[in-house]
């Protein structure tokens, strides 16, 4: 039987995305140091209950896509003292990821 995915994942493995640069008040699983950073999607982890509403006791069964993403340490910390090959991996929920738009220079 064919099923319809009403909430398809917006990002594919290998895509680049920007972590949103927003600072709302509440319970968020995105550390400050990741905000505004460009990452690459490593894996679609699946859909999980939204921790931002669950933290306040709400669970209407709404699940969000969550991704494992990667970034090099040098992109993360311009003054990084380690090696260029070093990386960081972290889970990010879809509402915190924005597509990377090409700048006019690159188009």
């Amino acid at each position: 039987m064919e099923t319809i995915e009403h909430n398809p994942a917006k990002f594919a493995v290998g895509d680049e995305a920007l972590v949103a640069q927003k600072f709302p008040i509440g319970h968020y699983r995105v550390p400050m140091y990741m905000r505004g950073k460009k990452v690459r999607i490593l894996r679609r982890l699946g859909k999980y209950i939204n921790p931002e509403t669950e933290a306040f006791g709400k669970n209407a069964g709404d699940k969000l896509w969550c991704y494992l993403v990667t970034i090099t340490q040098i992109e993360l910390w311009p003054a990084y003292q380690g090696k260029a090959i070093d990386k960081l991996e972290i889970e990010i929920f879809e509402p915190w990821l924005e597509p990377v738009k090409l700048s006019t220079n690159e188009q």
Partner: protein
Amino acid sequence: MSSEHNHPHDDHAPIVCDEKPGYYEILEISIRELLIERGLLAASEIRDQIEILDSLSPVHGSKLVVRAWKDEAFKQRLLENGVTGALEMGITIYDDTDFTVLENTENIHHMVVCTLCSCYPRAVLGLPPDWYKNKQYRSRAVIEPRAVLAEFGTIIPDDIEIRVNDSTANLRYMVLPVRPKGTEDYTDEQLIGLVTRDTMIGVKVPTV
């Protein structure tokens, strides 16, 4: 000395408990007492759960690592799905998290941190060490992992990639360290002895 306290023991400073509880401690006590008062939880259930948590130890993780070292097919299944892999060894990931095993290789060294709080694969490693919950480790592990590793006495060669995994949502990570050379003839018990808690967090490598 009172007549109630006349057994011989080593000298030690008297254990006093005169600190006033903090905001969150009072909050926890209030919620706990309300839950008990309303009959939603029994005091014994809370104590039972604390006892279970305290009894967990990293030996579950060590056993998973040793089996993965010796059984390639098991290793692949464990890397593919940590929850079902652990279950094969009778270990239940009871907290509904996605237990995820990170394989160290000759080229990659993983190190686990939870910058936001203290996410940790308790079902396989037991309770996290104090330093894992400490703000110093949590902030520095992502900024200068090589310096933090060096402070733990772990020098990772320059040509090996350090991959820091910040555990922020549903995944709970355990590092599968590289089996040290020269352990071909080791028994399972000897191998388990090499796989300490810190080697599975990724701040140490097993050595012989």
